[in-house]
Amino acid sequence: MTFDPDKARKELEGIEREIDALGNNSSDRATEERIEQLSEQVRQLRADLATHPSAWYRVQLARHPQRPHTLDYVQHLFQDFTEIHGDRGFGDDPALVAGLARFHGQPVVVVGHQKGHDTQQKLRRNFGMPKPEGYRKALRVMKLGAKFHRPIISFVDTPGAYPGIDSEERGQAEAIARNLREMARLPAPIVVLITGEGGSGGALAIAVGDRILMLENAVYSVISPEGCASITWRDSAKAEQAAEALKITAYDLQSLGIIDQVIAEPLGGAHADPPKMAQLLDPILEKSLYELQQMPVPELLERRYQKFRLMGQCFRDGTG
């Protein structure tokens, strides 16, 4: 029997709803056992979905030149987008866009990596690989948003931070590090949308938030599959194998507790129908923002801290 991802996805949603319903009731022994049983089914379904289609196939989809990028989502999801430029220190980085906008009438702040669809755009946007001034601009605009109590929406889609002489001279590492520390304490709700390639530190630098949502065919990794393959197997052609081993798909990362929710894409992938993709995203984004805005800021920040604090509890105490 062949695996049907659509059917599996529906089944998964059903089970997750059932777990939520059970979890809300008083928990007796039988309920706990039922939840455990259902959780096992969830793990299995997520594992199947992670490999259908394969991780490597999803990498291709995530990098598809026609895949919607930040400014495409801006066009479909927001009104009155007003771009804000520059880091007030060195320059303006076209690989990372930032601005003010309205989402269902509500003022928000938007930041995101920006790739290009054609060669000219790709070159202008440096293939979506920011330099330090890009990350510094993002932080400046996010701080502006927080000052005026505006929620922040961050779109993540980059092969990585740009590895160049100028990047190093201007402190790429410092820029990323500062964003990580400051985003952890920005007093405004932050929703992160991983829409395409989540390329390592260059992605994480705008991906610390209260809700981490990820499109079904997006990937999020510490290293590119090609990079991993050339290091471990000394053969970049083994990228397919590396993509699998690195557990970079949305379902894998949900199982690892790194992202909160997987967002389904239109048939064939987001590039097949960008307006439809935005339409699928819209209610989930709206719900996330609504939930976060109900929370007092100290609670929001405490939860954000605990969220990242608990990532990677993958150790044991091997004393003795």
Binding site: A161, Y162, P163, G164, I165, S167, E168, E169, R170, G171, Q172, A173, E174, I176, A177, R178, L180, R181, E182, A184, R185, G198, S200, G201, L204, A205, A207, V208, Y220, S221, V222, I223, G227, C228, I231, T232, W233, A242, A245, L246, K247, I248, L253, L256, I258, R304, Y305, F308, R309, M311, G312, Q313, C314, F315, R316, D317, G318, T319, G320
Partner: protein, 280 residues
């Protein structure tokens, strides 16, 4: 993330970079002179002739910084449980086991408490010879606990980095350690306690791009390689040779990324003095 390749190179010339090898003498990288190993070790792995700084392992680093070389280690037993079931040419747990056997450590950092210039201080020292000093969930957890301990006990924190970055075999889990540590540093910052970051040779990738660059003071040693991307990755990207001295401590100092480059033999005095200014 390029530690594998560099590791290989080092295997071809062990006597020039590794100190604890057989033989009584080694050739200095800096001055090309032959030096007695015991002279070098007695001088904290700084060449007595030209002051070239060889790498210093985590235990020696703690002995250098803490009074009488005495300290209490925290969380010494933590070891990884292999979150991704990662297998490449060799299963990841096998790599961890050989690193544990070679170093006597469970993972790539020692977190310790001791006195530094008579002041109780938390000091973390990374071990580069443990899978390239790479940061996975154990390094992330131990450093985070040290930061939280510093805040709770109102102690200053010193972290000595030596790392190729995030640990590939723990994938995105290791990436998240950057965010986790940085978030706890935000709290230490708010608690008004000093964090001195010492970046030693080499400090690159996700370690530089998180806690190592977030010190109240960022300090390095002469000649240390410090960067976000590894030199090889940059060369491949821009297809040109890198300028001499690129990504060395002196280059970073010149570009405003470091507060000071301090020779190893003066490092402890520097840390003690600056903590005295900050903590009164």
């Amino acid at each position: 993330m390029t530690w594998f390749r560099r590791e290989k190179q080092r295997l071809q010339l062990p006597e020039s970079t590794h100190i604890r090898t057989e033989g009584l003498w080694i050739k200095c990288e800096g001055c090309r002179q032959i030096i007695w190993k015991k002279d070098l070790e007695a001088n904290w792995n700084v060449c007595p002739k030209c002051e070239y700084h060889f790498r210093l392992d985590a235990r020696e680093r703690l002995r250098l910084l803490l009074d009488e070389g005495k300290y209490t280690e925290h969380d010494a037993g933590l070891e990884t449980t292999n979150p991704l079931d990662f297998v490449d040419l060799k299963p990841y747990p096998d790599r961890v086991r050989s690193a544990q056997q070679a170093t006597g450590l469970k993972d790539a950092v020692i977190t310790a408490e001791g006195k530094m210039g008579e002041r109780a201080t938390l000091v973390c020292a990374m071990e580069y010879s443990f899978i390239g000093g790479s940061m996975g969930c154990v390094v992330g957890e131990k450093i985070t606990r040290a930061i939280e301990r510093a805040a709770a006990q109102r102690l200053p924190l010193v972290v000595v980095s030596a790392s190729g970055g995030a640990r590939m075999m723990e994938g995105t889990v290791s990436l998240m350690q950057m965010a986790k540590i940085s978030a706890s540093l935000a709290r230490l910052d708010e608690a008004g306690l000093p964090f001195l970051s010492v970046l030693t040779d080499p400090t690159t990738g996700g370690v530089t791009a998180s806690f190592a660059m977030l010190g109240d003071l960022n300090i390095s040693e002469p000649g240390a390689l410090i960067g976000f991307a590894g030199p090889r990755v940059i060369e491949q990207t821009i297809r040109q040779k890198l300028p001499a001295g690129f990504q060395r401590a002196e280059f970073l100092l010149q570009h405003g990324m470091l507060d000071a480059v301090v020779p190893r033999l003066e490092l402890k005095a520097f840390l003690v003095r600056t903590l005295g200014f900050l903590m009164g």
